[in-house]
């Protein structure tokens, strides 16, 4: 049985090693080299040079700040909306399956497709401005105004991810024994109190999981920026991953890009560690 289990894991282990672990270790090693992919023969060791360069670079701090704003801006909104949607879905008497499918629908779409649709919606003469115009309101420069470009992307991100997280929270709600809820009602607890004292503690592990997942995903934001704004206008949407992509593929600074990736990994790891410590506290 044990041999069979190990054999079952082999295909996954092989692919993880080749396409996950190996590139991860190679990127770590590369982050200590000056490496131009067009001239691999000139690659040379520079120690922590790429890391010191990053912390001295205004572009890095700007990209980190933009990424942090994105994470801090989207996480509470996504979580709150996902929780509310899950609560509403849980109370539906009829058509729950239909609403569940509709809410989950964005999660089935590729982010590139979503971004392309939003690109048309956010266009200066796109659908959203068409509605505003019809209502007699001035157009909004969704992606052209440096103050609005990042919030517009955040809005799209929230829309695309709320459904998925709502379904996760809804699944956790469904595992709550009905007897427990009925007993609470018999004891005279009000709906809000039941939600706060019984439902919320019950779904707390899933909420922590959602926070974890969304934090990782938000720090990695790339496709949205690549499709919609390419870091502009005026670098208002220059996120860390987009910044490292530019350094790697436009400036051919692969070592530096790897260092940026590892700094990002370290920051995400640190935040997740803090979240886990906080989440481990008794409710």
């Amino acid at each position: 049985m044990k041999v069979q289990s190990i054999a079952g894991l082999l295909p996954w282990s092989f692919f993880f090693a080749v396409f996950g672990l190996l590139p991860l270790l190679a990127a770590l090693a590369l982050s200590f080299y000056d490496m131009n992919p067009l001239r691999p023969d000139l690659t040379h060791w520079i120690g922590a040079g790429n890391y010191t360069r990053a912390v001295q670079s205004p572009a890095f701090w700007h990209a980190l700040r933009t990424t942090a704003i994105f994470v801090v801006g989207t996480l509470p909104m996504t979580l709150t909306l996902a929780y509310l949607v899950a609560a509403l879905l849980g109370r539906l008497r009829r058509g729950e399956a239909l609403f569940r499918a509709a809410i989950f629908f964005p999660a089935t779409l590729s982010m590139v497709v979503i971004a392309l649709v939003f690109k048309s919606l956010y266009a200066e003469q796109g659908l959203l401005n068409g509605w505003l115009e019809a209502a007699g309101l001035p157009p909004v420069h969704w992606l052209q105004d440096p103050r609005l470009a990042l919030p517009s992307i955040m809005l799209m991100d929230v829309w695309s991810s709320v459904g998925y997280y709502a379904i996760l929270i809804l699944a956790a709600r469904k595992t709550l024994p009905i007897e427990q809820l009925e007993a609470a009602r018999l004891e005279g607890m009000r709906a809000r109190e039941i939600e706060r004292r019984i439902v919320l503690p019950h779904v707390r592990p899933v909420i922590l999981f959602v926070i974890l997942l969304n934090t990782i995903r938000s720090f990695q934001i790339f496709i949205e920026v690549f499709v919609l704004t390419r870091g502009g206008p005026l670098e208002s949407t220059l996120t860390l991953v987009y910044h490292l992509y530019e350094r790697a593929f436009y400036h051919f600074e692969m070592g530096y890009a790897c260092a940026l990736a590892y700094i990002l990994l370290f920051i995400v790891g640190l935040i997740l560690f803090a979240q886990r410590r906080l989440g481990a506290r008794p409710a």
């Binding site: 080749v18 190679a26 003469q125």
Partner: protein
């Protein structure tokens, strides 16, 4: 590089190598791996003809996408397995030349020099590192219905800066969501391509003829940027594809775009009445109707194992009779072969002919080892000017100082 460095690089590209095998053909023929951007349906008939003429060479063609082709090429070069021959955009060539990734073809192709145009995008310090294949440029699309509604003659679209600014303002004054001009914004990477035609037309440039000094803050450039920004209040500011779409829907009077629109408009907007003209020039007597020239050139990589066969293929592809069918099939860029201008296709397609004429006064950005950085600085400062963060003088002087410092710095 030490052995440790070698193993790191090998590790980094291991995944790419695992899937991206580009081996020799098993038929005894010489196999040439050719990466290019046209749909296979467009390029395959041309390659079939090549196979008939050169039965000893087998071409393994692969289509790249504009979104990821550059990354794929960089990964392949890093892995030491580049294609033998590749289609290279003019803004990618300087970086490859700077890093000695392409072989110097100068002495192998002296006969091609007078037959092709667009060498400025493929040469550095008088040496050719690629062969111009297809040339792209942009011209002015004019909505003649809007011209008429604005009280202007559709038969005489604007040719000079003053006429153009006047027409843009009058079309904008029509209201109803219609704007005079489609001005690129929100996509930093294309800004210099849209502004520099006005500067080049006015006698301005980016670097001097020796490519050692920035001339970005020249009076000609400042005058051109001042003029360009006068169009802004009457313009729709958006990304290129959105501007193309706005033109298609009849919402902008003028849009600078490429020949690809010629194929789209008859089907996507059959009711739209439009003409294509050369870019406006400063005055009827001064300056030129300049535009941006982009070249698709064929380069042979240093790591290629079939350099001779790759050169044979490149020589075949750039011939007028082989490049012209590619234009007819794709409608994106014109053959670099000078003879193509005489092709009967352009007699029956007068709008396409405008682009061919535009190519005569189109300018390619300089092939310079630090072009990526120069382009980045230029685009960033132009964006500051377009968003009103800096005056035209401030933006161009700042660009000049930054590019000057970059050129002065050691490579």
């Amino acid at each position: 590089m030490g052995s440790r460095g070698h193993s790191v690089v090998t590790l980094a590209v291991a995944a790419a190598l695992a899937l991206g095998g580009c081996g020799q053909g098993g038929t005894g023929k010489r196999a040439v791996v050719f990466w290019q951007f046209s749909p296979l349906t467009a390029i395959q008939p041309i390659l079939d003809r090549f196979h008939r003429e050169h039965p000893d060479i087998e071409v393994q063609v692969e289509q790249l996408t504009w979104q990821s082709g550059r990354e794929k090429m960089v990964a392949a070069i890093a892995a030491g397995r580049p294609p033998d021959l590749a289609e290279l955009g003019s803004t990618f060539i300087p970086g490859l030349v700077a890093d000695s990734t392409l072989i110097d073809l100068t002495d192998s192709i002296p006969d091609l020099k007078p037959l092709l145009r667009g060498w400025s995008a493929a040469e550095y310090r008088g040496r050719a590192y690629a062969i111009p294949w297809m040339l792209g440029t942009r011209a002015m699309y004019v909505n003649t219905d809007l011209l008429r509604r604005a009280g202007l003659s559709p038969e005489h679209p604007p040719l000079t800066w003053a006429e153009f600014a006047n027409a843009v303002e009058r079309i904008d004054a029509l209201g109803g969501g219609v704007k005079g001009f489609g001005m690129n914004s929100g996509e930093r990477e294309v800004l210099f391509k849209k502004f520099m035609p006005f500067a080049w037309g006015n006698g301005g440039d980016i670097l001097d003829s020796t490519l050692t000094r920035s001339v970005v803050s020249s009076p000609q450039n400042i005058e051109a940027l001042r003029y360009y920004l006068t169009l802004k209040p009457h313009s729709l500011l958006d990304r290129q594809e959105m501007l193309d779409e706005a033109f298609t829907r009849g919402r902008v009077g003028f849009a600078i775009s490429g020949p690809w629109m010629l194929r789209k408009l008859p089907t996507s907007a059959p009711e739209l009445h439009f003409v294509v003209t050369l870019m406006p020039r400063p005055t009827a007597r001064n300056g030129t109707p300049a535009s941006f020239a982009g070249a698709e050139a064929l380069g042979i990589f240093r790591g290629s194992k079939e350099k001779a066969a790759a050169l044979t293929l490149a020589r075949f592809l750039v011939k007028e009779q082989n490049a012209m069918p590619l234009y007819v099939a794709t409608g994106n860029a014109f053959p670099a072969a000078a003879m193509a201008e005489q092709d009967t296709y352009f007699v029956s397609h007068p709008r396409d002919k405008v682009f061919v004429e535009q190519l005569r006064t189109a300018v390619a950005p300089p092939v310079h080892p630090k072009w990526v950085e120069i382009e980045e600085i230029l685009n960033a400062e132009l964006e500051e000017a377009i968003y009103g963060k800096k005056s035209p003088e401030e933006a161009l002087r700042s660009a000049d100082a930054r590019i000057g410092a970059l050129l002065a710095a050691r490579p």
